[in-house]
Amino acid sequence: MAAEKPKIEIKGVRDGLLITVGDRGDWPAAQDALLETILARSEFFRGARLALDVGPRPLKAAPLGRLRDRLADLGVTLWAVLSESPKTQETARTLGLEIHLARPRPGRVVRPVDTRPRGEEALLVHRTLRSGMRVEFAGHVVVLGNVHAGAEVVAAGDIIVWGHLRGVAHAGAQGNAAAVVCALDLSPTQLRIAEYIATAPPRQGPPVPEMAAVRDGQVVAEPWTPKLK
């Protein structure tokens, strides 16, 4: 039994605490390990805002709701559940939980006035990424240049390439299936959004700017054109 105990990792993040539950063991075992950890240091956890990363586990509403109530009893507010599983993401959303760390908890959002729109963190790569190069960032990535075959871009958010995208691009790498990949020439070796994987079919004719997104569980590319109002 002891071998089945999942690893519990605690990290401080901008929005409170992030607890990652290791992949080992079934959900009841994971939940026990989690509660045990919190009980052992109950003073530390009291009043905490908690985001929980459950890895690939598919969770239904009942067990997740129950956990939230148990945590509330311990004075811990569960506000986000992170997972690569679309099932768990859906469950979390139904329970009114966030599935992404970057966004603040609803209710705490202060609507910015129009003159100061809220931005999100992005990495600007002002060069061509050649074979063997890799860029990884926990926000969006903007490349002013090409991403050549053999190069790789991994972003927790969106990926924008102002040039040829011929290497590997993984947007929404921490599970955000709403992320998009845009390029002036979208011809990746492989494209991933969250856990969805696609390869580009050989293109006919000259490239046009395209945007790839997940629609109905599939990665699709559509023309990337300004929507001018």
């Binding site: 060069r127 061509t128 050649r130 074979s131 063997g132 190069m133 050549h148 075959a149 053999g150």
Partner: protein, 266 residues
């Protein structure tokens, strides 16, 4: 005016670095420049063979660096071109016998005496590559027009940029126009599109390269050879002349496309 150090390198081996070094050097010498080739491909000596100088080697690059001889003693003068010299590589020593700093010092000395210092680099991402790139003022990357060689070239171009030795220029070697026409080989514009760097020249596949190399006469000295002509054109471009690309075959469409491409490179 101090001389220019041009390092000739590649991602993949066997694409024609040594051939290019010997022939560009011979062509520059023929144009009246004082040229020295440094064979930095230690352990894989063959620049001396192409130049036909192997039986004259007494001292080598490692002997110079380790102080066993003076620089002048390790320079071998070419039989045909009195202003062409070679500093051969040591065949027996491994690549750690020389450091990048050694190469920088050596080239600083050579710059005083020569117009051009051409360094024949080993392929790939090893210590020898750093040695060859460290003293470079200019870098030429050699590739063949095939997908795997181009991919490796891309990696090396990235490393050259990382060493702040860029922008490198591209020498496409062994282009076979008939194969390009049949769609069996990447065209010049495909390679340039994939690598996004400037073009230094295009050398066609030519049996005369092998025949001349075996005789120890660089093909650049062969007036009739097309590859020889291509290398002579590269030499003139290095001297700042605007030389259009060699017509690879008598197909006017392709020809025009190529000259347009080259114009873009300048």
């Amino acid at each position: 005016m101090p001389g220019t150090v041009l390092t000739i390198t590649s991602g993949k081996g066997g694409v024609g670095k040594t051939t290019a070094t010997a022939n560009i050097a011979a062509a520059l010498a023929q144009l009246g420049k004082k040229v020295v080739c440094v064979d930095a491909d230690i352990g894989l000596r063959n620049l001396d063979l192409i130049l036909g100088l192997e039986n004259r080697i007494v001292y080598d690059l490692v002997d110079v660096v380790e102080g066993r001889c003076r620089l002048r003693q390790a320079m071998i003068r070419d039989k045909r071109l009195p202003n062409l010299f070679l500093i051969p590589a040591a065949q027996t020593r491994d690549k750690t016998a020389i450091s990048p700093t050694d190469m920088v010092h050596l080239c600083d000395d050579l710059r005083q005496e020569f117009d051009w210092i051409l360094i024949d680099s080993p392929a790939g991402i090893e210590r020898g590559f750093r040695n060859a790139i460290a003293p470079a003022d200019q870098v030429a990357v050699v590739t063949n027009p095939e997908v795997s060689a181009v991919r490796d070239a891309d990696r090396i171009i990235g490393l050259i940029e990382a060493e702040e030795k860029g922008p490198a220029r591209l020498l496409i070697n062994r282009l076979n126009p008939a194969m390009v026409r049949q769609g069996d080989m990447l065209a010049v514009e495909d390679v340039l599109d994939l690598l996004a760097i400037d073009l230094l020249g295009v050398v066609p596949e030519d049996d005369a390269v092998v025949v001349n190399a075996n005789r120890g006469t660089p093909v650049a000295l062969d007036e009739k050879s097309r590859a020889g002509q291509a290398f002579r054109n590269v030499a003139r471009r290095l001297l700042g002349e605007n030389v259009p690309l060699l017509p690879l075959e008598d197909e006017s469409g392709l020809l025009q496309r190529l000259s347009r491409l080259f114009g873009r490179g300048d």
